[in-house]
Symmetry: C2
Subunit: 411 residues, 2 copies
């Protein structure tokens, strides 16, 4: 289904959604730093948030909204300040932002969700935030999706937004999405499984769908998207993935367990998967995208542990940067991942070429391997020969630029 | 006891030990690449090895020797090739090396241990190894300790060797040690706990000590030395820490459980601790040494998890490189470490200055903090306010040079 993704799409592709991205003044660079998504029709909502104990104030606030099971109309996002480790004041600031948006949009505060990303531990400059909320509300437009995708960026080098269409009961249903990375990325999102990074991701859809079906689809999409990526292994305090469905497509309501629910879930997984991949490709300082497929593990959980150990290994990541096919580092990372397997049953392929057989060199000439791992996108297939457990992680290399970006971030 | 460490000491400081470091020809650079330690008197031995499933051939071989419970006379070390992921051939090569040394030294092959560090997955060039073993045997000298410390180096920038003396039953007992790092360092050594990296460490002593007392002392020393360090979070296939005791000091035999055993264990922990610290200080590309103290955890195991999560965080490590007091990254890493605590009870100090109180900014001016974390050695004290569990990890920053060393290692 990935081939039907629309590269020109965004969160305003589905009917009935407006969005905006504005310059509130949070960023010294003067870049856009606040975004808003709005639907006049009330939206069913499903969301997943970071598993970090220091969950940011907007995450704490949003969890309450989700627990309330009501419908929502809007999301307000700021990209200059994380509003994390800010205590009671932080929570009050999240609430004030929602109240401000609600008063401007003519809805209830409990119908507005908020997200933040940026530096941890600094109180929100509320004058700027409230002014920005007003600017964003005034700028809302049916063509504002790309502006919103720009405004949620931090160290991202490009906006990431797509859409896709499916047919449900004779009606065209559209899903649109946007996301931002690009460091503190190793999301372990609940439900399903938790993520790392500040990753923020939003999907809008004009589908008419029950909350139950929407939440099931989101949980299923997570393991095929944000919960399988890692840039640096750091799980942020602010990770958020939410899906808003306003029903404007006027399709027969999609109920949980139906074939239509499966189709919708598949579409959501494809869109979220592409957003997650793009987040890694645009990760901080990234020069190579790497897919780590682990099969033959005793369980999926074991395969995941092993794939994450490889994907987060500083030595594997620097080797990928250097186009070094050093498979010893890959096996080493599998060997300390904490799972059980027989080292002499392990096979490894890189870009489809045999590299390791039975835990030893497969004999493919070094020169050939160097050429293969010089590609911009590398694929590793590791079979542990120990069962049917499998998991795939999308990750990237570790470069001078990653160090530069993160050693300089503060000043 | 650390103040009595002798910086001029080495593995040949204790009576009855000879050592050598020679150029066998494994390294393209032409640097010394094989070392030998020898005692004519048979040595009681205790050792700890990597917990990596892909344990290298010399580790597999040495474990058998240790299981045999016999005494040993020599250790042969090469620093050009890891002899890991080399299958049956690798094991045969480790055996051949021991046999060669035994025939040269006039002892049994089961009285010789072997260690390797270097590239994984490449068969040992046995002609060079056997010639080097002969060169080393011929070069053995009571002054050879510093040469040996040079010859075991890989990406280390300097040899690391020390000694110290204690008095047991009216006799002077000497302990001498050497170690090498400097990447793939996050040792999780068994027993006690497993390590990561290729770290190799050797301690010789002329103490007369029972095998039981020696093994207890080694296990105790581990948690105060090699098992609390991490450079890059990668646990090597070859990590080895061994202690040889030849009894040449002619002290009354130290028995397990005695006050003398406690004194010896303390001396070993101090020596091993210093070797471990020096390994981190000389870690790949390191510009800053960082001590992470976690207290107030529900258990020591929890404190360890939390301290390791911080010490291995790419975002914390790059911030330390940039002299950025960004405490949000430290709390973030604690928050995703997988242990339980109340974020609003957390306190953090940097270099003794209050940084976080009750999970929020303690108000120490930014400028002051920047000055504090610009030191070459930084200390973090994180109190989780959740119990009496404590653990300390020694680590380092993440620099351009780490990336350079490891992206270029292969070519």
């Amino acid at each position: 289904m990935e081939d039907i993704l629309n590269e020109a799409g965004s969160v305003t592709s589905p009917k009935g959604f407006k969005a905006a991205g504005v310059k509130a003044g949070l960023k010294r660079s003067g870049a856009p730093d606040m975004a808003m998504i709005y639907s006049e029709r009330p939206c069913a909502v499903a969301a997943a948030f970071t598993s970090n104990l220091f969950a940011a104030a907007p995450v704490v606030y949003d969890r309450e909204i989700i627990a309330g099971q009501g419908k929502i109309h809007a999301v307000v996002v700021n990209s200059g300040n994380a509003n994390a480790c800010t205590g009671e004041r932080g929570l009050a600031d999240a609430r004030k932002t929602a109240e401000k948006a609600a008063s401007l949009l003519g809805c209830l505060p409990t119908e507005v969700m908020v997200s933040s990303t940026g530096r941890i531990g600094v109180p929100m400059p509320m004058e700027i935030i409230l002014k920005g909320t007003e600017l964003a509300a005034n700028a809302l437009s049916e063509k504002g999706g790309k502006e919103a995708a720009l405004a949620i960026m931090t160290t991202d080098t490009r906006p990431k937004a797509f859409s896709l269409e499916i047919e449900v009961g004779g009606k065209v249903v559209t899903l649109g999405g946007m996301t931002k990375g690009a460091g503190m990325i190793a999301p372990k999102l609940r439900p399903a499984m938790p993520p790392q990074a500040t990753m923020l991701a939003y999907v809008t859809t004009d589908a008419d769908i029950s909350v139950e079906a929407l939440r099931t689809a989101l949980a299923r999409a997570l393991d095929r998207s944000f919960n399988r990526i890692t840039v640096d292994g750091d799980t942020s305090t602010n990770d958020t993935f939410m899906v808003l469905a306003n029903g404007a497509a006027q399709n027969p309501t999609i109920q949980a367990g139906s074939p239509e629910a499966q189709l919708f879930a598949e579409a959501l997984a494809v869109l979220a998967g592409r957003l997650a991949k793009e987040m890694v490709r645009d990760g901080e300082g990234v020069s190579r995208f790497v897919e780590v497929n682990v099969t033959g593990a005793a369980s999926d959980a074991d395969a995941r542990k092993c794939a994450e150990s490889i994907a987060n290994s500083a030595l594997c990541k620097t080797a990928w940067f250097g186009a070094d096919p050093n498979w010893g580092r890959v096996l080493c990372a599998a060997g300390y991942s904490g799972i059980a397997f027989d080292p002499y049953k392990v096979n490894l392929d890189m870009q489809g070429a045999p590299v390791v057989r039975n835990g030893m060199d497969a004999g493919t000439p070094e020169k050939e391997l160097v050429k293969l791992v010089s590609a911009k996108e590398i694929r590793l297939d590791l079979n542990l020969g120990n069962g049917n457990g499998a998991f795939t992680v999308w990750t990237c290399d570790f470069t001078y630029d990653y160090v530069k970006i993160n050693a300089d971030y503060h000043t």
